[in-house]
């Protein structure tokens, strides 16, 4: 559906490359969560995909019509037009006609809960309502690929829920989406895969819901008992004891977990915190980005 091959890009006059050897492959119906700190290269990737920039080297392969639906971070509509007039304008610009036009407009209005606001001037809407209109205009376009850049920034949780639901519906219908956000729970909610960028390089490209090995999380009141550390040396494939007192470990096999429980029960003190679960996106992100969020 969309392939980026070894893309390199430097902005004119910049002292370092914005992107270095970035490759990715996105299948139809897939949603990619694009993550990275400010300046990591997310916007550059989106700009190259949208054709706003040409790579210095490498290639973007986007088969089909090449139509891209865009939801920029800024509110890209006319504030002196009503919600209906804005949607009509962009429907004309997207060359939507006839029943398909009506059907698509109706669908976006319903998905973004704008039914009761159609006659209102866009400039008179609340911040959350304006965000919903911004998303509706972007998703109104029949496209091969949708790019959503911080689509929910600055809005309350209810409005965020509405926007994410609209995006999720789009993905469920087989549309392909690249979604950037600083809110990791949002990415977990909509994305199938994550691509983490740091300083223009891909740090992580992984399916979000793959079976990550379970990890043990233990926090001890004062000093971690030596017996526990010895246990980890023999039963964990990797483990670390962070400065904040939290011990994280990946056990070699699940059978070690009951042994660990028995060992913990033999100790004089009880642990403050004990978990055995798959790591979340935030932990993956922090680990891959070296702590930058």
């Amino acid at each position: 559906m969309l392939e980026l091959h070894n893309m390199e890009y430097s902005y004119p006059g910049a002292d370092r490359a914005a992107l270095v050897d970035v490759s990715l492959r996105l299948e139809k119906g897939e949603c990619l969560g694009l993550l990275g700190a400010n300046g990591a290269g997310k916007t550059t990737v989106l700009s190259l995909i949208a054709g706003l920039l040409q790579p210095d080297s490498g290639q973007v392969v986007c088969p089909g019509s090449g139509n891209i639906g865009l939801v920029p971070q800024t509110l890209a509509f006319h504030t002196r037009l009503s919600v209906q007039e804005n949607l009509e304008l962009f429907a004309d610009l997207y060359r939507l006609k006839g029943p398909r036009r009506q059907q698509r407009m109706q669908r976006m209005i319903e998905a973004t809960r704008l039914e009761g606001l159609l006659k209102r001037r866009a400039g008179q809407l609340s911040g959350g309502q304006q965000r919903r209109l911004n998303v509706a205009i972007g998703l109104l376009q029949p496209a091969e690929l949708y790019l959503l850049d911080e689509a929910t920034v600055g809005i309350d949780s209810l409005n965020r829920h509405h926007v994410l639901q609209a995006v999720r519906e789009l993905i469920n219908e087989g549309e392909t989406v690249i979604y950037t956000s600083h809110y990791l729970p949002e990415i977990e909610q909509v994305a199938d895969r994550v691509l983490l960028l740091a300083e223009g390089r891909v740090q992580l490209d992984a399916p979000l819901h793959m079976q990550q090995p379970k990890r043990v999380y233990i926090r001890w009141p004062v000093q971690m008992p030596l017996a526990i550390e010895r246990f980890m040396n023999t039963h964990a494939t990797q483990w670390q004891h962070a400065a904040d007192g939290l011990l994280q470990a990946e056990l070699a096999d699940e059978a070690s977990w009951p042994q660990l429980l028995r060992l913990l029960a033999e100790q004089d003190d009880a642990p403050l915190h004990l978990e055995y679960r798959q790591p979340g996106l935030e932990e993956l992100y922090l680990r891959a980005s070296g702590g930058q969020l």
Binding site: T43, L46, S47, A50, G51, L52, L53, N67, I68, L70, P72, Q73, T74, L75, A76, F77, H78, R80, L81, E85, E88, L89, F90, D92, L93, Y94, R95, K97, I137, G138, Q141, D149
Partner: protein, 395 residues
């Protein structure tokens, strides 16, 4: 479909922008009314009555004749004003009667009030000279027996007036170029502020485009591969139509509203085709200038400063604020550099010179050339800028 959608949107946005409407219609209309009244004090076709005090130390038939002749020259003015502040005092000499036929002749003494202007002084001086000449002619005719002393004063005056006055056939020479000197207040003010208002189309045009750059609307349009030329045409056509409406509305103000305020109505001489041609040339020049300013400005603040600043400069240079006829020769030459000056010249050619389409062709040619240069430069710069519109909000 896309072009129609863009035009419809631009049209709606312009009419819903109260600032744009204020700048395009309210501001020039107010300027027309205020400046036409202000100019009417300087450029008058009906001269105001004067307050004079004629002092006659020794009354005589000759002094009575002089007073009657002077009153005939200044029919609305008062010669024996009780007002303590008069425009001038005219004192006849004690021996006025005796020395009328002397050569050289010593006439009455004129004392002007400090506030009386050059025009008033010249008017009084001319009236006194003519009345004095008629009085002296009457004395000569009496002395020669050609005028009967027993005739009533009015009859004698009429006789002398017939001897001294000639019919002067007057014709208006159709002309073009700088005719500001012979225009009245309405003929100067209406076109001047109409042109100024039309060129102010630059302000909403450039401000809107900056907002679209900053909001990300143009980014959206770029991603859907909308041709920059289509975008420009979609903006230019509605603003051109708005310019033409301004032209018609402000001319109508001059023709129908100005007389209600006590000033003469603007009379539209010449063919309607000439006015249509002129309206289209000014529209093309102002909208193309708008494209150039839109391309040069990098923010709404810059758009405001560049639009207002350049318009004020062109207006000051082009004889909009001060008529060219009141400028020194060097400034009048500078005025030839301003498209507002060319527009004003063409307007006066029609209104004052009663010119035709052919007479305004040179001015229209200059306006079209200006439009072409602005449009080409502006389009080139805008295309470049649109091509470099990046994802971020700051472009």
């Amino acid at each position: 479909m896309r072009l129609l959608a863009l035009m419809r949107t631009e049209w709606r946005l312009a009419w819903r922008d109260p600032h744009a409407m204020g700048v395009l219609f309210v501001m020039p209309a107010l300027f027309v009314l205020i400046m036409a009244h202000a100019m009417s004090g300087i450029i008058r076709t009906d001269l105001p009555p004067l307050q004079l005090a004629v002092e006659v130390p020794v009354s005589s038939p000759a002094s009575e004749f002089f007073l009657a002749a002077l009153q005939a020259q200044l029919p609305d003015s008062s010669l024996q004003s009780d007002d303590p502040v008069v425009d001038a005092r005219i004192r006849l000499p004690d021996d006025f009667d005796d020395k009328l036929l002397d050569t050289p002749h010593q006439g009455p003494t004129l004392s002007f009030a400090a506030a009386s202007d050059t025009l008033q002084r010249a008017r009084i001086r001319n009236a006194v000279i003519l009345a004095l000449a008629q009085t002296r002619l009457a004395a000569f005719l009496l002395d020669s027996g050609l005028l009967d002393e027993r005739e009533p004063l009015s009859s004698r005056l009429q006789h002398v007036q017939e001897q001294t006055e000639s019919r002067l056939p007057e014709y208006q020479i159709l002309s073009s170029g700088s005719l500001a000197a012979s225009a009245n207040a309405g003929q100067l003010s209406v076109p001047a502020w109409l042109i100024f208002g039309m060129f102010f189309i630059v302000l909403p045009m450039s401000s809107r485009l900056q907002q679209e750059f900053q909001s990300g609307i143009l980014l959206r349009l770029r991603v859907i591969r909308l041709a920059p030329l289509l975008l420009l045409v979609g903006k230019l056509l509605p603003y051109s139509l708005l310019n033409l409406i301004q032209f018609a509305a402000l001319l109508a103000l001059g023709c129908f509203i100005l007389p209600l305020t006590g000033l003469p109505a603007l009379e539209l001489h010449g063919s309607w085709q000439a006015y249509v041609l002129l309206a289209m040339c000014i529209t093309l020049a102002s909208c193309s200038f708008g494209v150039l300013i839109s391309a040069l400005a990098r923010s709404s603040e810059q758009a405001l400063l560049l639009s207002a600043g350049s318009n004020l400069m062109l207006a000051a240079l082009g004889g909009i604020m001060v008529p060219k006829s009141m400028m020194p020769a060097a400034m009048q030459q500078l005025a030839e550099l301003s498209p507002m000056g060319w527009s004003q010249d063409a307007f006066l050619t029609l209104l004052v010179g009663q010119g035709s389409v052919a007479d305004i062709l040179p001015a229209c040619g200059s306006l079209l050339l200006f439009a072409l240069v602005c449009a080409l430069t502006g389009t080139f710069l805008l295309r470049h800028r649109l091509r470099n519109t990046l994802w971020t909000s700051q472009n």
